[in-house]
Symmetry: none
Subunit: 229 residues, 2 copies
DNA sequence: TTTCTCTTTATAAAATCTTTATACATCCGT
DNA sequence: ACGGATGTATAAAGATTTTATAAAGAGAAA
């Protein structure tokens, strides 16, 4: 991934345009939404790397939106608001916002704060190349090699594997995996998971019938173990 | 760890006092330094969870200090400065600062920004591992090791063990265990407990016939004792 | 179209939970 | 010490839930 995908949730057309131009001219990919409802849906479907959220949306209270977003969305959220009261700022930050800028803001400062927020969220998951037995996973290039041969993974397969890699050793519940890969509306579709786990195993395990990397934790979820070589 | 350890690097005595009182009354542990040199040394020796850095230090340029700090220090750094120029802010953020507040700042906002920065840095790395003799229980990964080998526990077995671990040393009644693991409708199914206790012992005790970890309290319940090593 | 991927359905296999059966232990009054 | 009452341990059969996998259908992109 070269540049991040940023979702703008703001109802003012002018602000949207300004942000879009600013961000795109800095090579970010941009999507936008004008209402809370639309914003939540786009966030779920696009899984953006960051959200810029205006607190003054027409259809719902901004703090409420942030709270609901934070129930499942873990990437950075920066608040842009005309509200400059300490109360609003404290509330937003405590509801899980990573930063808060008062409108009108300075463009270069916004860009710097975006870089800062992205940096700290990416640094944790940033192990450029992970090696497990004969498997090499390059998260920044989105590629997977097995015995030095590139493996072809579909988008969903890769998303799943990347989650496993970033939480190596931990048991990831069905709920969690479904929410992260398919979105919060799919947490009951355990069958999807089974199908894709089977496909992944076929592609990365030495013996798919006796999996050693993706371990089943029956009734709970799956666990990825990485025997480093 | 309950509350974070914060290092204040600021040469103004008044500011130091203000910050110290504010932070301590919010249960943070505080250390301080009045010069860049002292700050670097304290940071290295104390390994604080966060640094509040004033850019206007007497002995060295603040941006330089930040850069040198970031060569090895990975926890959050928040800049507190009288400089409010966009240039300074952008530079500091790009040098690795997590946030930038202009003095004079609002106290509650500072506290909220501290919480926000700590939240995002602590979320991943916190892995409390409990060790009892040759047993290691990682509650956040939901895994159990014995003699450094993963043990396979079923969901129910794990739930039971996790209850014991979280109430180490206390007698847990049959009622309580049944209610917590199976639900309130099962408080009379003592036989379930016996079956699962036997299975757990087979998996974690050195000699299941002479249990040393899961102790029977006849007529009452069971007690988990943890000989830490 | 053709190809690729995701979704859905079907079914067999595996794992887990529940239930039953039986043996053992301990306490207590005689 | 004996016998009964109560409580516990364990194995193993059975029922149920969960998982693995193939394969067909749907939909989108080349």
């Amino acid at each position: 991934m070269d540049k991040a995908d940023i979702l703008i949730i703001d109802d003012e057309i002018q602000m949207q345009k300004l942000l879009e131009i600013t961000l795109q001219s800095n090579q970010y990919r941009v999507s936008h939404a004008a209402t809370a409802k639309e914003g939540m849906m786009t966030a779920a479907s696009h899984q953006p790397d960051m959200i810029l959220l205006d607190l003054g949306l027409p259809d719902e209270d901004g703090h409420k939106v942030l709270q609901r977003l934070r129930e499942w969305y873990t990437n950075p959220v920066i608040i842009l608001s005309v509200q400059s009261s300490e109360e609003d700022i404290v509330k937003a930050l405590d509801n899980g916002a990573n930063d808060y800028l008062v409108k009108p803001f300075r463009t270069r400062e916004l860009l710097a704060r975006i870089r800062s927020a992205l940096r700290s969220s990416f640094s944790e998951e940033n192990t450029p190349v992970l090696t497990c037995e004969d498997l090499q996973i390059d998260l920044s290039a989105r590629t997977v090699k097995r015995k030095n041969e590139f493996i072809k993974l579909t988008a969903t397969e890769y998303n799943l594997l990347s989650l496993f890699v970033r939480h190596e050793g931990k048991v990831l519940t069905h709920q969690y995996l479904l929410r992260e890969v398919w979105g919060p509306g799919y947490i009951n579709q355990s069958q999807y998971l089974r199908v894709f786990i089977a496909q992944l195993r076929k592609k990365i395990e030495t013996d798919p019938n006796r999996p050693e990397m993706i371990i089943t934790e029956s009734g709970v979820g799956y666990r990825f173990v990485c025997k480093e070589s």
